[in-house]
């Protein structure tokens, strides 16, 4: 794997330097210029490419003092061949809301990681963290020390609240119906303890999207998905609508006909929206951003339960609270979260996500448990099977 000079001879990986898209192999090689760790990473990866299999062992538990998460332990199963990656742990560093940085902040992170690790990162991990990719056990604490001194902290791993993330929101998007970045930052900060010290049955993710476009995939990837929306009518600028029409947009075909509720009418001159029937899908607004905008009464819908397929199949989040005004969002959310976590803590099985727990005990029982009244917005449709568990002992339950 290594030629006479100790340089990685990586014929297969070299193939991945070719082509127009930026190459991760080039990145590893760049890092290898200052980090011997990366030589061995290349070497082991080349073996994986040859043998078509991972050469990492199932992770062990490593971390920094007082934290139960934020580090993923990783060991090579070819430590003799590639001693520099015998340990190759990652640190998950909590990113700032919206993934905004100054050049200085980035350089600080680079300097720390060059000193203590491979110099390789993921910007960012799928949950949103800055991922410091690969270091040894005894570098963990020093890295952490420098990070916190620079104002950074670790993100989540294990059975904790995971690093919340959010879309760019009001920082640069005209559609944000609440301040996603403030909410994400506040929740992250409020639940520091839950982020760093595993006390849950399993992981719990928050994602904040400012509108139903859901640019942070909250509905698919977060146990609690906060999605901005509005309650009143779409703001409409008729002159701007006319301009779109004049500039060649086929409003009938590309806007009205694609409206999921067919609640728009275009008579060639005037666009009429039957707002009572609009489901706030964003399509018309997306197509005509200068002419249409979300209403003025802004806020968010809170949905619960998304997750990947293991164990009982993937879940999408579903509506828990149809609308909270923006001003009340954080209070409502915190009140809600504490009840949800209490319920989950009491009834959740080990490695059972909240969405799975709801499926297991039933949504109605879950609502009872957290003290929320059922509303029809929570369901796509009412049950179609007659297998109803009626409650109570008296003669008139269920009426």
């Amino acid at each position: 794997m290594a030629d006479g000079n100790g340089k990685p001879k990586a014929q297969m990986l070299d193939e991945l330097e070719k082509g127009p898209w930026p190459s991760f192999v080039k990145e590893i090689k760049k890092a290898a210029e200052t980090s011997p760790v990366c030589h061995d990473l290349m070497g082991q990866l080349e073996v994986s490419y040859e043998e078509k299999r991972s050469h990492w062992k199932h992770g062990g538990i490593v971390g920094v003092l007082g934290y139960g998460g934020g580090v993923i332990g990783r060991y090579s199963d070819l430590p003799d061949q590639f001693p520099n990656v015998a340990h190759f742990h990652t640190l998950r560093v909590n990113h700032p809301s919206g993934w905004f940085y100054t050049s200085d902040a980035l350089r600080t992170l680079c300097d720390i990681w060059e000193r203590h690790g491979s110099g390789l990162t993921n910007m960012h991990g799928s949950t949103g963290d800055i991922v410091f990719l690969g270091t040894k056990t005894d570098e963990l604490e020093p890295t952490f020390k420098e990070l916190t001194e620079a104002g950074f902290d670790l993100g989540g791993s294990g059975s904790v609240m995971r690093t919340p993330s959010c879309c760019v929101g009001q920082a640069r998007c005209e559609w944000a119906c609440y301040d996603t970045m403030a909410a994400c930052d506040d929740i992250t900060r409020t639940y520091q303890d839950e982020l760093h010290r595993p006390a849950f049955p399993y992981k719990f993710k928050f994602k904040f999207s400012g509108c139903p476009n859901d640019c942070v995939a909250a509905i698919a990837r977060a146990d609690l998905s906060i999605i901005g929306t509005w309650r009143d009518d779409i703001q409409q600028d008729d002159a701007a609508v006319a301009e779109y029409a004049a500039s060649g947009l086929n409003i009938q075909k590309d806007v009205c006909n694609r409206c999921p509720t067919h609640c728009m009418e275009w008579d060639g001159k005037k666009l009429t929206i039957e707002n009572k029937e609009c489901v706030r899908c964003m399509h018309c607004i997306n197509v005509m951003p200068k002419a249409l905008r979300p209403g003025k009464e802004k806020g968010a819908a809170i949905l619960i339960g998304a997750k990947a397929p293991i164990l009982q199949g993937a879940l999408l989040s579903s509506v828990l609270i149809p609308f909270v005004p923006a001003e009340e969002l954080l209070d409502t959310l915190k009140e809600l979260v504490s009840r949800i976590w209490d319920f989950w803590g009491e009834y959740g099985k080990n490695r059972e996500r909240i969405g799975e727990l709801i499926q297991r005990v039933g949504m109605a029982n879950f609502l009872d448990g957290i003290g929320l009244d059922p509303v029809p917005e929570m369901v796509g449709s009412p049950r179609d099977n007659p297998y109803i568990y009626f409650q109570g002992k008296d003669g008139d339950q269920g009426t």
Partner: protein, 360 residues
């Protein structure tokens, strides 16, 4: 007096339908061109040959005495050459060659108390089941409720003024012989108490493993009662489906105080426009209130009226609700949304509102 054994006739099957076909139908079989509606309950089918057959459809209580069947036979002789048929919703249809016979037939039917209608966007007859007239399993009566509801919807049978077809069905227990599960409006008899186990009978007539296996929720466990092997029901796990009773007579569910009706909406069978779909829960429980079940009648009439006022042309009940959304359905009908509406059976998760598509 000993008689020589006659050969017993078996396995002959039903009479061949051809024997019963109107000559004009036989002639134009497979060669119909189009049809028109002349009036509610009166259709005219035109053949490629130019022939026209007129259908007059009359409502029927389905539970018919031979006297009434003979009346129909007489009317058929008089007006339709002796040819008639019944429909898949238990109406009776007279097949007329002579257009001039339509009105006299209608008059005679009216005089005998049989309304003509049920076509197109009228409400047709209610598909239903046995109830207390013949079934042990029933949580309610069938014919009685049907009579009351149809009395109230009589004008909807004789007029075609709804936005689209509206099919009502009734079944008196969860076996759903009325196949109510795909109806615009379904009336379903339900039990709400676990079976009361008759241990003595059980011991004699039921197989315990079969009884245990019959329960979809696993609520039945073996147990020793008075020193004998029997079963017990974990009450919290029972949702009163009655399947254990079906396999074992010693597990009756009848309970006058707790049996009653539920109302389901938005199902359909046809492939027209939207795909066939199940009815969804609208009202979880209405007590039995014979002989006229006013609460059930009001509930159904209310849903029909709200639908008639709000749906667009060619929108079946379910298609209308799809457009306006369930929250508005509950709002417009004034029906309360409860914990029972939220599914908790096997596909429950898929019925949750898994998008931010929201109306306020």
């Amino acid at each position: 007096m000993a008689t020589a054994p006659v050969k017993r006739i078996t396995d002959i099957g039903p009479p061949h339908y051809e024997k019963f076909l109107h000559p004009m139908i036989k002639k134009n079989y497979g060669n119909w061109k189009y049809h028109e509606t002349l009036a509610p309950g009166v259709l005219c089918h035109v053949a490629e040959s130019g022939d026209r057959i007129y259908t007059v459809r009359a409502g029927s209580p389905r539970l018919l005495s031979v006297a009434t069947i003979r009346l129909f036979a007489d009317l058929a002789d008089k007006y339709s050459g002796g040819y008639l048929r019944f429909t898949s919703r238990n109406n009776v249809e007279f097949l007329l060659e002579d257009k001039g016979n339509i009105e006299p037939l209608k008059r005679e039917l009216a005089a005998a108390g049989f309304p003509v209608g049920g076509t197109n966007n009228a409400i047709s007859n209610i598909v239903h089941t046995q109830g207390w007239v013949h079934c042990h399993s029933s949580a309610t009566d069938a014919s009685g409720i049907v009579k009351c509801v149809m009395d109230a919807l009589y004008d909807r049978f004789t007029h075609e003024d709804l936005p689209a077809k509206l099919r009502i069905a009734l079944a008196c227990c969860l076996n759903m012989c009325g196949a109510v599960h795909c109806s615009d409006i379904a009336i379903l008899g339900i039990h709400r108490r676990p079976p009361k186990i008759l241990h003595e009978t059980l011991r004699k007539v039921c197989e315990i493993p079969t009884v245990i296996a019959s329960c979809p929720t696993g609520a039945i466990r073996s147990a020793t009662v008075n020193g004998n092997p029997s079963v017990e029901v974990v009450e919290e796990q029972c949702m009163y489906c009655g399947n254990c009773y079906t396999v074992c007579p010693a597990m009756p569910l009848n309970d006058p105080e707790n049996d009653g009706l539920s109302i389901w909406v938005g199902g359909k069978v046809s492939n027209a426009r939207s795909a066939p779909t199940f009815s969804k829960l609208a009202i979880p429980f209405i007590p039995n209130n014979p002989p006229r079940w006013p609460e059930v009648v009001n509930a159904v009439v209310n849903i029909v009226d709200v639908y008639a006022r709000n749906a667009r042309r060619f929108e079946r009940v379910g298609e209308w609700i799809d457009r306006i959304g369930w929250p508005r359905f509950f709002e417009l009908t004034g029906i309360e949304f409860t914990r029972y509406h939220i599914d908790d059976f096997k596909y429950a998760g898929l019925t949750f509102a898994r998008s931010a598509h929201l109306r306020y």
